[in-house]
């Protein structure tokens, strides 16, 4: 099972290494990890997607909490949060397929951000299922390049 953890950390030297090292040292798997600043410059927020059953998640959460630089962990459960991922990809096109790709982009509210004679670069945000579906539809055209941010999430509460 996949879990989304939102982890508030001190923005200090080596904090990413501590967290990454805890995962590798204890044999846990990170699906995606995203880190960025918060309103408070002394703190960063990480969104970590972890694979594992409830026992694994309990240990991941506790081991994260044990790190001195980890301030707070939120374990997002179903429907308690909204999440998005940003994807940049470059897809092969030619005279025949360009319009079809653009049409699909329209449906998915994706943006074409660069056009080359034989390919286009596309920006897409969305939740996991939307992105998976979009990539599935782009595959037949030929995806030349793909960069994903990993999931970022925010709580619905408050």
């Amino acid at each position: 099972m996949r879990h989304t953890l939102s982890v508030l950390v001190e923005n200090k030297f080596g904090v990413l290494t501590r967290i990454a090292g805890m995962f590798s040292g204890r044999g846990f798997n990170i699906d995606t990890l995203n880190v960025g600043p918060t309103l408070d410059p002394s703190r960063s927020r990480m969104t970590i997607v972890v694979m594992g059953d409830d026992a694994v998640l309990e240990q991941v959460t506790k081991q994260l909490n044990k790190l001195i630089d980890v301030i707070e962990i939120e374990d997002f459960r179903d429907n308690e949060y909204v999440d998005r991922e940003l994807v940049l990809l470059r897809v092969n096109v030619d005279a025949q397929t360009r319009s079809e790709v653009m049409q699909i982009c329209d449906i998915f509210r994706a943006k074409i951000i660069d056009v080359q004679p034989k390919n286009v670069a596309i920006e897409l945000t969305g939740n996991e299922s939307k992105i998976e579906k979009f990539l599935f539809l782009m595959e037949p055209f030929g995806i030349r390049d793909l960069t994903r941010t990993g999931k970022v999430a925010v709580s619905r509460r408050q």
Binding site: T17, Q63, K66
Partner: protein, 604 residues
């Protein structure tokens, strides 16, 4: 970066070097001893240390010895031991000691010099990434890149190392930071929003525990190092004397509960007593206090204590449900939890009695029968000096009141079995990491911290040799740490496993001289003479008592090299991965052919 300003308490702001600020910070933390081996990247700190009137700097002869000495100091005092080394190899030589402290939850401050910060990452001479290398084996670590951070970092480091579940903290300090100058500002408090070292149980959880106890017929306490590091031995004793629950400790918990108490079952696990293992595994309610369900205790963890309701109290939330899922996990400071449990028991009318326990008569009878049937015993003989005899005799001659350290191996297990410990912080052993070479430097550190106590390292010949150079520290610094080498010329524990699993095929386990089997090798008497330390070799049982007497009476470091047989096995033994019912009690069953051995689980 904020510009440091003088605090109001110092009338004139004084410019100090980073090294001087560091030493001042150590003094402010109450440090009186540091084990430190100098080198290029830590020289400024050593220079500053020569001007400290509060801190005694002891020179180990290897950084690892320094780390174990600092651990010895920490394990007997409960305060952080301090060790320092230079960059590169100095730092890497510390890592085993840091890992050892991590696995046994020992408060340790390790300071390393680092190359100047502009050189970091350039592959400079004696450069290693100590921050990165120690990450998996520290409670926390720092690379100091701003001189203004030194006071905060040192204060935090001691706070983190000594509170909550204790552990090692590394401070890596580049040389240019040591040489820079600033006016220090010493913070009065620490600000660590992600760190709560004082968790306490909820009343309802403690009530639930007492409720479970009401219906228990065969309750047991299984307690570990947390009792000692949590300073909760007195509270545990009171709890036991109010409830009448028998106690088995772990090896780390030895001394946390008096072993001569009528409800004491000594320690459990692979080489623990049969009665402790039986009682814990056949209990119907297990109170696991300050333990971590380590594999050397539980063997196959799924089958450990199968029938019992388990309550697990620990200060570290991550230990709860980690190795063994339990019915009632309680995160709490142990002293707090036990104090409140005792108050609840008092309110419920459960009076404390020092003897004649009658809460669980049928259970006591069962345990008494096991104790009678399976006592810790050995076949005493006058032909050779049995290891167990040496330890029993030392226990008798020191009235069980010495601080004992050990190396790792058979002698370590026998020490746990045949020395009777009654007080916390008197048995210092590398239990988690199992580091050979721990014993003698740890004894030095312990003796420095407790010069009033007799400190004896009971060691093996393999382990002792691994940090033999620390005889120099003991001799030069005038530290009367004693050592008994139980010398069987073999790596005894590995030999035992060779007997058990590999048809006694010896694979590099002989430590003597194969070209001259009549000679005892190496010659510890000669080695010790070279270090200026008195050493006696004991070959005959009749000479042992007098030799131990001379060793104990000595005001200086003293070594006894006692020749013992290599054929003796540590028993009882539950081979790894097996159940407590598979315990080996008789040595004739612990020598298997290679074919039989291959049938044993790989976890051995």
């Amino acid at each position: 970066m904020t510009t440091p300003t003088a605090s109001s308490s110092t009338p004139e702001p004084q410019l100090m070097t980073g090294a001087e600020i560091l030493v001042k910070c150590l003094e402010r933390e109450g440090v009186d001893t540091i084990f430190a081996y100098p080198g290029g990247a830590s020289m400024p700190i050593h220079q500053a240390l020569t001007r400290s009137t509060q801190i005694r700097t002891l020179l180990p002869r290897h950084e690892q010895g320094g780390a174990f000495a600092a651990e010895g100091y920490a394990r007997v005092t409960g305060r952080a031991g301090v060790v320092m080394a230079t960059s590169g190899p100095g730092g890497t030589n510390l890592i085993t000691g840091i890992a050892d402290a991590y696995l046994d939850s020992v408060p340790l401050i390790a300071i390393t010099g680092q190359v100047a910060s502009p050189l970091i990452g350039k592959g400079a001479f004696q450069e290693t990434d100590m921050f990165g290398m120690t990450l998996p084996v520290v409670k926390h670590n720092y690379l100091v890149l701003d001189i203004a951070d030194i006071p905060r970092v040192v204060k935090e480091a001691f706070y983190i190392a000594q509170t909550g579940r204790p552990g090692p903290v590394l401070i890596d300090m580049p040389k240019n930071i040591q040489e820079a100058k600033a006016v220090p500002v010493f913070p009065e408090t620490v600000n660590l929003p992600g760190y709560n070292p004082h968790p306490t149980a909820e009343d309802a959880q403690l009530r639930q525990l007492l409720e479970l106890l009401k219906s228990a017929k065969q309750p047991m306490i299984y307690c570990g190092g947390g009792i000692i590091s949590g300073e909760a031995s007195a509270e545990l004793l009171e709890f036991v004397e109010r409830t009448g629950i028998p106690v088995a400790t772990t090896l780390m918990g030895v001394g946390g509960f008096p072993e001569d108490h009528p409800l004491a079952l000594k320690w459990l696990g692979m080489h623990g007593t049969v009665y402790a293992n039986n009682a814990v595994n056949e209990s119907d309610l297990l109170l696991a206090i300050g333990v971590r369900f380590d594999d050397r205790v539980t063997s196959k963890v799924e089958r450990f204590c199968e029938r019992a309701t388990i309550v697990h109290i620990d200060i570290d939330a991550s230990e709860l449900n980690k190795n063994k899922p339990v019915q009632l996990p309680i995160q709490s400071d142990l002293k707090d939890a036990l104090t409140r449990l005792n108050a609840m028991l008092e309110a419920d009318g459960a009076r404390r009695v020092p003897c004649e326990f009658n809460a669980f008569p049928a259970w006591y009878a069962k345990i008494a029968a096991w104790k009678k049937q399976y006592p810790l015993a050995f076949r005493d003989t006058d032909e050779v000096i049995q290891q167990q005899y040496v330890i029993s005799l030392l226990c008798e001659m020191t009235h069980g009141e010495a601080i004992i350290t050990t190396g790792v191996g058979q002698h370590q297990m026998w020490t746990g079995q045949f020395y009777q410990f009654r007080k916390p912080r008197t048995f210092l052993t590398s239990a988690g990491l199992g580091t050979m070479g721990f014993g003698y430097p740890a004894a030095i550190g312990a003796k420095v911290a407790r010069p009033d106590m007799q400190v004896v390292d009971i060691d093996g010949d393999g382990s002792f040799l691994m940090n033999v150079q620390e005889l120099a520290m003991a001799h030069i610094e005038g530290i009367a740490a004693k050592a008994i080498i139980l010398n069987n010329q073999y790596l005894g524990m590995v030999v035992q496993w060779e007997d058990l699993k590999y048809g006694s095929n010896r694979a590099h386990t002989f430590l003597g001289d194969p070209k001259d089997l009549d000679r005892i090798y190496p010659n510890y008497v000669d080695i010790c003479r070279g270090f200026g330390v008195k050493c006696e070799r004991v070959l005959e049982k009749k000479d042992l008592k007098a030799a131990i007497g001379r060793m104990l009476d000595s005001k200086e470091a003293y070594v006894l090299d006692v020749m013992v047989p290599y054929t003796e096995h540590v028993l009882p033994m539950i081979p790894g991965g097996m159940s407590y019912k598979d315990v080996i009690i008789d040595q004739s069953n612990s020598k298997l052919t290679a074919q039989q051995g291959a049938q044993l689980p790989t976890a051995l």
